[in-house]
Amino acid sequence: MEYILETSGLTKRYFKHAAADNISIKIRQGEIYGFIGKNGAGKTTTMRMICGLSCPTSGEVKIFGKNPAKDADISRRVGCLIEAPGFHNNMTAYENLKAKCVLAGIKKKGYIEDLLEIVGLENAGKKTIKNFSLGMKQRLGIALALVGDPDILLLDEPINGLDPQGIAEIRALILKLNKERNITILISSHILEELVKLATCYGIIHNGKMIREFTHDELMKECTECITLLTDTPEAAAPVIEGAGCADYKVIDSTTVEIYRESEAIPEITRALVNGGISVMGITSKKESVEEFFFRLTSE
């Protein structure tokens, strides 16, 4: 089985408005999939359909190749933290976890203590939720999502409203769960710089439509500093560029070559081109941030 989570043509309509329109996602085991989109783009709607909170108008969700709506054992392999974490506020953290363990049929001794330790709340088990800070609530939300040892974790804006330290802690926790427990994670956020530190692949959703999917390497390539060379002989320039130690380049058209290097390499490349007899019509450098890249994609 190639994909652990697959959606095909997932659509959710509210009357005439399509909150999610024909969304197709493919996620391999062990990946951290960053789901990027503006507020109201359809991220939460899509995640709600995946975890069974809402029924798709059309399309299908497959987890391990099976439809979770038809196979309850499959749906239990998904843990979710959708929107704000939901708790029974008058119960303690331990009782909230215990309630979900009862639901999941888990009777293992020390299970709840282990979960609290994983999320760094080992000393807060007896505290009632109403006394929790936002960061603690997010951690407990993740602990609740981990009940039943899910293979897939759906995290909807888990770093929303957190301070920088809280964000760093949640990031470290997500990476730890992915590496140590091999949990596949679908995480949505509009804090792009944070997602870039976590995700291995991405999907950009805009106005309910999936506009592009790409890997982390592809994103880095799009957003790294790039030198644009204008020449009338790009084919002849290619071996010279390679000779100058720039293996990563791309011939864009009959006059343009993009070289993925920092601007500091411009003098060296120019020298090599002149020595190689290549006419240089122009050479400039540009750098696009992840944010600019996202804006470009969503404004197209």
Partner: protein, 254 residues
């Protein structure tokens, strides 16, 4: 299904609202006993007044059903209001099973509430009115049983209102309706509009006050009224339960 019921029962016994509800109920019962303790010193009344009458009085005021229905509204709404249902969504095998698990919990709670009501009245009467007789306990259980069925009809309405709207406001309306007898007023108005007197036999809330202090059938038609009330309650329970299941299955969980 069993795990879902166990989950609801865990919530029931670990939720502060359950204990607050029982505390309010006990305080109410004790205040009723204290207010009626003068009967214990009145030689004329004491022969006609029994401990079982106290239970009837508490039910007659409709506070016991209202307390139960209020608890149920908070319990059902709690899952939606705090978003707890979002966390357990992958474990909800079927929404009908989810509804059934709340019904089972509600049945247990209604037993606890009416049981607490009986025990508080009987024990309170024994302590504060040691001279009064116990009364017909068998008949009391029969009356309380029927009251439970009627209360459950209101409970079914409340569960439907909460499940359909994800809001507690319609449930509050139903609770006010129980306490004020607005249902009777509404049906009276319909009767007047239609020029017929056909609904009065099917009223729910007046049932509980039929017996009044004497805990006996006062009029020959009372027996028929009881049967009609039970049938009405049963029909309401079935209709609102089916409606709740349909609404839950059609609606997205919030």
């Amino acid at each position: 299904m069993f795990n879902m019921i166990k989950y609801q029962l865990y919530k029931l016994f670990h939720s502060i609202s359950t204990y607050i509800t029982l505390a309010v109920l006990i305080v109410f019962e004790i205040s009723v006993i204290v207010m009626n303790s003068e009967y214990a010193n009145d030689p004329e009344m004491i022969s006609e007044f029994t401990a079982v009458n106290l239970v009837a009085m508490c039910i007659e005021t409709l506070m016991v059903p209202a307390i139960f229905v209020s608890w149920l509204a908070i319990f059902t709404y709690g899952e939606f209001s705090h978003g707890a249902v979002r966390t357990i969504a992958p474990f909800i095998r079927s929404k009908t099973a989810y509804y059934v698990s709340i019904v089972v919990t509600a049945i247990l709670m209604i037993t606890i509430i009416f049981g607490t009501s009986i025990i508080t009245c009987l024990v309170g009467a024994r302590i504060l009115m040691p001279k009064i007789a116990m009364g017909d306990v068998g008949f009391m259980f029969c009356h309380v049983g029927i009251s439970c069925i009627i209360t459950f009809a209101y409970a079914a309405m409340v569960m439907f209102a909460v499940n359909a709207t994800c809001s507690i406001l319609p449930a509050v309306g139903i609770i006010v309706m129980i306490l004020t007898g607005a249902e009777t007023v509404l049906l009276n108005l319909i009767e007047q509009a239609l020029g017929k007197e056909e609904f009065s036999m099917y009223y729910l809330s007046p049932y509980m006050s039929i017996f009044g202090l004497t805990f006996e059938l006062k009029y020959p038609e009372d027996e028929m009224h009881i049967v009609y009330s039970i049938v009405t309650a049963a029909v309401l329970i079935i209709v609102f339960s089916i409606s709740s299941c349909i609404v839950l299955n059609k609606r997205d969980l919030k």
